[in-house]
Symmetry: C2
DNA sequence: TAGATTGTTAATCGATTAACAATC
DNA sequence: TAGATTGTTAATCGATTAACAATC
């Protein structure tokens, strides 16, 4: 008996997963405008990627287009929704109701995409009980009960940096396996837990890097060329 | 005379640039604790990356370590700051003072990293003039004057999706070349302008994808294994 | 059939990683 | 000198892209 080949890798590349929401948004806009069919060129254009990448991405999900024609907007929309898991609603808890947590609780973009902010938690006694976005802020002590009661699958962490690791540890303890971290801190989670982070200062720092390079570039280029020129002249 | 070799590519890979703020934050924490020297293993650990990657990243900046010893914390901190462009302060404008813009204006993490929120702008007449984070909200009409007056280099866009493109067009017109976009919309900018985006819903959708896969995985794996098993049995 | 457009192949590019020679 | 740790090399991996055969 021959050894069987290793199990097919299966699964969509991470870079593709990160773009699926983009395509979905573009398709939703097209559907609202009553567009029935779209080509990869057009959909790529409205999604801000090139069409080769779009087709490659979609090919990981299946063959949902028609050669010579394009993609049926609503059909593709449904297929991507299903792939991402948006055919169901997800309950989300936000931990840390400061400036940012407050804004996130009130952010309209979540509900329209199938994410229901189901609970707000904070460690500060003076914040507990206050009403934010129509919800009463609960103490973090009640985390376990709240997660179970509301069937919460995803947690958003918007605490100060120093509290982030402890909060994430607690979240993992009570069974949360998907965390979106806004606290500017390195957080370790056990394997099997997916942690993504949004780091506001880091984003600005990356921009600053490019901005600085831009300002210096005229000079730097001249210097570089000068060296090359010197070499060339020397022969 | 021989042709000179093409100019050295020079410049730090984008993936490295995105991690420099992480290292900087770890170094700042070490400096505050009075640590003078750190090895790549230790710094990698506190930064949440592996040490090979850290050393490779740092090697793009120069040879700032000492073999057998490690890196001098404050020296490396300074070198990275210089590379990112944090030896100077940057003035930032926020356009769109809704929930999110409001929270960003009050976000403490910016100032401590050399970013000064210098102006807030909004298109809604009823928001103009209100005070947020110690600043008076200005009308977007005044953009050009404000950008010049405050020497603003970086803009944060926190408008509704439908306004984002027009706002970015205006920003580019008045000479802004670095934009951080929070609006859930595809925005096109001319070459030479750096646009980064933070998409809150997309982040949740990526988590939802993994969460869904996790739930389905026990079943899927069994099915997959069943197929392999069937093949194996058939010989 | 002629024209259009997908799905896939293969080349290329950039990022990650392990390993180790250089060197303190 | 012996031990430690950097900086770099080279292998590997994953993502991007152009090109085109398949097919509506």
């Amino acid at each position: 008996m021959k050894l069987v080949s290793p199990p097919v890798p299966r699964g969509v590349p991470e870079a593709t997963v990160a773009r699926l929401p983009l395509y979905l948004r573009a398709l939703t806009a097209l559907a609202e405008r009553g567009v029935a069919t779209v080509s990869s060129d057009e959909l790529a254009e409205t999604s801000g990627v090139n069409s080769a990448k779009l087709r490659k991405d979609l090919s990981y999900l299946g063959s949902y287009g028609t050669r010579g024609v394009g993609y049926e907007v609503e059909f593709l929309q449904h297929q991507i929704s299903r792939e991402i898991g948006l055919t169901q609603d997800w309950s989300v808890a936000i931990v840390g109701i400061g400036n940012l947590g407050h804004a996130l609780a009130n952010y309209g973009g979540f509900a329209s995409r199938g994410f229901r902010i189901a609970a707000l938690l904070d460690a500060e006694p003076e914040r507990v009980g206050t009403e934010v976005a129509g919800l009463h802020v609960r103490p973090v002590d009640e985390l376990e009960r709240i997660v179970t009661e509301h069937n919460i699958a995803i947690a958003i962490v918007a605490t100060p940096a120093h509290a982030a690791q402890a909060v994430c540890d607690r979240l993992v303890e009570v069974g949360i396996t998907s965390i979106l971290n806004f606290a500017p801190a390195v957080v370790q989670v056990p394997e099997g837990v997916v942690l993504r982070k949004v780091d506001l200062s880091t984003e600005l720092q990356i921009l600053a890097y490019h901005e600085q390079r831009r300002n210096g570039s005229a000079l730097a280029l001249t210097a570089e060329q000068a060296v090359e020129l010197a070499k060339a002249v020397r022969g």
